[in-house]
């Protein structure tokens, strides 16, 4: 519990609440700094089990930076505490976090374009050790059941043998989600702008898919611009403005929150 002595006093309450709550993922005082710019400022939030948590905010609010920091991509720029199932994971490398079940998708997809959809999932499905790599090399590979399961879950079975660049944008987003879901012990999924580049109908369909996954027991954090998506499918919403957490609440509360309307809905017009 080395983080315990490092955190600020005001965070102690937060930690106490976390210990009592059912949070899969929680950040305590997470801070990201690029030179003089503070991109994420002391953000403490939590994602509860079996819930779809939303993270909204105007452009440049630090939403993607927040995900980058949580998933270990900004080791030199961030500090604070990240708790996964109550254990401190801040400072772990991205691949280790993935093994722990903290996975993410990307706004820009970043699929492995050279291999099939099934291989995309296959790569993420099992961690490779020296032993398992050798075993796999010398013995014919067994099919990963988990991959089939996820392909089934996301209705990707028909396109499993195709390459990502042959698919529609919505399908590719789903492959990205599948790749994040397929990790050995999937605890929580961080989705970075999953609706970017989708039209309204696709967004609705995609939102329904997400809701369906959450109802089956998955835990997710969704970062998005699309207020329609976030307000309709999320259970709980946080708002970031200039790196600071300014408002949190259920969709109904957020819909009427003055800060949210001022910072976001006032000139966006959606939702």
């Amino acid at each position: 519990m080395s983080w315990f002595v490092l955190i600020k006093r005001s965070d102690l309450l937060c930690v106490w609440r976390l210990a009592m709550s059912d949070a899969v993922l929680a950040t305590v005082g997470l801070k990201v700094r690029f030179g003089g710019l503070v991109a994420v400022d002391d953000v403490s939030l939590e994602c509860r089990r079996g819930r779809l948590t939303g993270l909204i905010g105007p452009n440049g609010a630090g939403k993607t930076t927040f995900i980058d920091a949580v998933t270990g991509f900004l080791p030199n720029n961030s500090k604070g505490s990240v708790l996964l199932e109550g254990e401190e994971v801040f400072g772990c490398s991205p691949h280790r976090l993935s093994h722990y079940g903290l996975t993410r998708t990307w706004q820009t997809l970043e699929l492995f374009d050279d291999v099939t959809v099934r291989s995309n999932l296959d790569i993420a499905s099992r961690r490779l050790t020296v032993g398992s790599a050798l075993l796999d090399y010398f013995r014919p590979r067994q099919r990963a059941e988990r991959v089939d399961e996820v392909l089934e879950l996301l209705n990707l079975g028909d396109i499993a043998e195709r390459q990502p660049r042959e698919l529609s944008q919505g399908q590719r987003k789903l492959v990205g989600v599948g790749r994040a879901l397929v990790a050995e012990s999937s605890n929580i999924l961080l989705l970075d702008e999953p609706a970017a580049g989708l039209d309204k109908a696709e967004t609705e369909w995609f939102g329904a898919q997400l809701r369906c996954l959450v109802d089956q027991g998955y835990t997710m954090l969704v970062v998005d611009h699309d207020m329609g998506l976030v307000l309709n499918v999320c259970d709980f919403i946080h708002m970031l403005v200039f790196g600071q957490l300014t408002a949190s609440g259920t969709p109904d509360v957020m819909r009427n929150n003055a800060d949210v309307i001022a910072a976001y809905l006032g000139h966006s017009g959606t939702g």
Partner: protein, 715 residues
């Protein structure tokens, strides 16, 4: 400012400052040891600095690290020397469309001019202008014909294209002028002057001044002019720059011309001091790459200062090696560029790219064919043909087959590390050399048996490969190519170019005849098949087994989980890490496998007919290997096999020589040309090209067949 530096950068800065202070103190105490080298180093330092700022200009223009920069300097210098001494302008060797006919018919129908005569010898100024105009033309061609079409291409294609420029221009110089050193008449006065009691040629100071003025000018130009802003904007994002009203393309073209002219000017100015050989500037370019990297490929001032420092430190180490007996005479200073570049990487590199790359074109397809009955038959026919060629064909074909098979193994080493994982390695032949020299000394000096010597030698090659691969964990793309190039140079200069290492004398060696349990199977040993002349079939058959095993292993690797993770790293390091792939471990394992194959190739060379020397394993051998591997197809086993046939003195070359024309002297030239063409127009290499043709043909036949006989499925 200080707060922004990372801990490593701060430690580095303090270390540098301490070293500088110690140096100044030394210079005050002992002028000859610590001050004279500074003056002597100014000459080479100026070349390194000037080449480095040229690299920065080209990088700013189109994000390309131009490995051909030194070759441009060489070519322009030779043009100038030729004009001044003989008044002849060299015409670059052009492809003669009639050559195949001439070769078969044995007559010469048309002779391309090799030089244009312009009188006896030209005065210096017009010669300088013509030579620099040539440089400008080279810059325009480089931009418009090569790097502009490649602007959205993967880094690999850009690196390959610039290597193609290097091979092409150097080969052109060798074809036109031979490999002898040349020197022009000095432009600057060269009477010595005295500085603090040390005498130094005046011309060095003039060159120092010229480089300093150019650096300051470029800095001002890029800092304050609209042109500089346009260049920066264009390199960042051409489309937006165009929308903002900058003509980014024009700016990039101008920059290429500037870089090229600068390279030519440096070459012409320094050639009177140093003389120039066809690969002189390319070897110096490795130091320049280090200097430019220290300036993050963007700062002219840091690049220039670092360039001068590299030249000076090199001279200083040379002096200390002479004076201080306790320093082992192994050419430590040759490792200087590698040390500087590796440190720069460790200090300034990132373990994962901080941002995803802009959308780029696709990397070559790592095609993995399904094993069908037809393919098995085809492979069988291929192996049978190879067997016939290695055992029963005339000796030159047998020899070509042996060279090709070793080439296949070496090319496979690049398929793993560059094709599958996307890490550009320019040190493969150095690793091969380590194990070749090692096995030769283990067998000859230590008198080990083969079963001990070969694994030990291969292991030493893998060890070197892994050490050199450590910087790869914090770098990628063109920077990694530079690191591996520098490490290849360091290995070659320290271990192959001087006596003492591996207990061998300088010069030519061989590991002798391979034998296990008294059964000899070398190229000179008796073999029960074939005509019994040297090289006999025994070694060829042995090679055939080794090659087949290597090819099958690499194919299996591609299909295995490890291979899939390798492709994931190649496609996207960040996404791979997020998907649970340990990027560092995958890169290291790829380097280990690749070094293993390269080292295996090296031991096979050591047992091959004839002897070998350090030149077989120098940096140019590594560059040529990558060229052939890319030409064949960098990401498939089929590509490696194709590369093997193209390999120097391989079966493809033998067949061309026997049936068409003697391509020997033109090999590097033609390879350089096709390398550029491959990078620009077809990054899948010959293998991918053939595969597509066959697929198209298959699809066409299929359509024809269906038109004639509609099946139930169609109905």
């Amino acid at each position: 400012m200080i707060a922004r530096l990372s801990l490593a950068e701060r430690v580095g800065a303090v270390g540098l400052a301490a070293l500088a202070l110690a140096w100044i103190a030394g210079a005050l105490l002992n002028r000859e040891t610590f001050f004279d080298p500074v003056l002597f180093g100014l000459g080479s330092g100026a070349i390194i600095a000037a080449l480095a700022i040229g690299l920065v200009v080209a990088f700013r223009a189109s994000g390309v690290i131009n490995f051909g920069h030194g070759a441009v300097a060489t070519y322009v210098t030779y043009v100038y020397v030729s004009l001044v001494s003989d008044g002849r302008y060299p015409v670059p060797p052009l492809p003669n469309p009639l050559a195949p006919i001439e070769g078969i018919a044995g007559i010469e129908i048309f002779d391309f001019p090799t030089f244009i005569n312009m009188g006896d010898s030209m005065p210096r100024i017009p010669a300088l202008l013509i030579a620099l105009a040539t440089a400008a033309a080279l810059g325009l061609v480089a931009h418009f014909a090569i790097f502009r079409p490649l602007r959205y291409a993967p880094v690999l294609a850009k690196v390959i294209a610039s290597l193609g420029i290097m091979l092409f221009l150097q080969a052109a110089v060798v074809l036109r002028f031979g490999a002898r050193a040349k020197a022009a008449e000095p432009i600057f006065p060269n009477e010595p002057v005295e500085i603090f009691g040390a005498r130094v040629g005046q011309d060095r100071l003039w060159i120092l001044g010229t480089v300093a003025v150019i650096t300051a000018g470029l800095w001002l130009l890029f800092r304050y002019s609209r042109f500089g802003i346009a260049t920066r904007a264009g390199a960042e994002n051409e489309r937006f720059a165009t929308l903002l009203g900058f003509n980014a393309d024009f700016a990039a073209g101008v920059n290429w011309v500037m870089a090229s002219v600068l390279a030519g000017l440096v070459g012409i100015l320094v050639s009177p001091i140093t003389g120039v050989t066809p690969n002189f500037f390319t070897v110096l370019l490795i130091s320049s790459l280090g200097a430019a990297l220290l300036g993050r490929m963007s700062s002219f001032v840091i690049a220039a200062v670092a360039g001068f420092m590299l030249g000076i430190v090199d001279q200083q180490l040379f002096r200390l090696e002479l004076e201080w007996d306790w320093i082992p005479d192994i050419g430590i200073r040759r490792a200087l560029p590698f040390v500087v570049i590796a440190l720069a990487m460790v200090i300034r590199g990132e373990s994962l790219p901080s941002r995803g790359a802009l959308t780029v074109e696709r990397l070559p397809d790592a095609h993995s064919p399904r094993i069908t009955r037809g393919r098995v038959i085809a492979y069988g026919v291929l192996i049978a043909g190879a067997f016939w060629l290695t055992v029963f064909a005339p000796f030159q074909y047998r020899n070509g087959m042996q060279n090709s098979m070793i080439g296949i193994i070496l090319a496979l080493s690049l398929v793993v590390v560059t094709g599958y994982v996307g890490q550009i390695s320019l040190m493969q032949m150095a690793l091969a050399g380590v194990s070749a020299f090692a096995v030769a000394s283990f067998v000859n000096q230590a008198e080990m048996t083969l079963l001990v010597a070969v694994p030990l030698a291969v292991a030493s090659g893998v060890g070197f490969g892994l050490i050199a691969a450590i910087p790869s964990l914090r770098t990628r793309g063109a920077s990694l190519a530079i690191v591996t190039l520098a490490s290849g140079l360091a290995i070659a200069e320290i271990f192959f170019a001087r006596p003492g290492w591996f207990g061998l004398d300088r010069g030519i060696k061989t590991a002798g005849t391979p034998a296990i349990f008294g059964v000899e199977f070398g190229p000179n040993s008796k073999f029960f098949l074939g005509d019994g002349k040297v090289p006999t079939g025994g070694y060829g058959v042995f090679l055939l087994f080794v090659v087949a095993a290597c090819c099958i292993s690499v194919m299996r690797l591609r299909r295995s989980r490890l291979g899939e993770q390798m492709l994931a790293v190649r496609a996207n390091e960040r996404a791979a890490a997020a998907a649970g792939v340990n990027v560092a471990a995958i890169k290291l394992s790829a380097f280990a496998i690749s070094s293993f194959l390269a080292a295996l190739g090296g031991t096979l060379i050591a047992f091959d007919l004839g002897t070998f020397g350090g030149d077989s394993f120098g940096i140019f051998a590594s560059l040529t290997l990558l060229a052939f591997a890319y030409l064949g197809g960098i990401s498939t086993v089929g590509g490696a096999i194709t590369a093997g046939t193209l390999f120097s003195e391989g079966i493809g070359i033998v067949v061309t020589n026997e049936w068409f024309i003697d391509v020997g002297p033109y090999t590097a030239y033609v390879a350089g040309f096709f390398l550029i063409a491959t990078a620009v127009y077809n990054n899948e290499g010959i293998d991918g090209f053939q595969r597509k043709q066959v697929q198209q043909l298959g699809a066409r036949l299929n359509r024809l067949w269906r038109l004639r006989a509609p099946t139930k499925a169609d109905a």
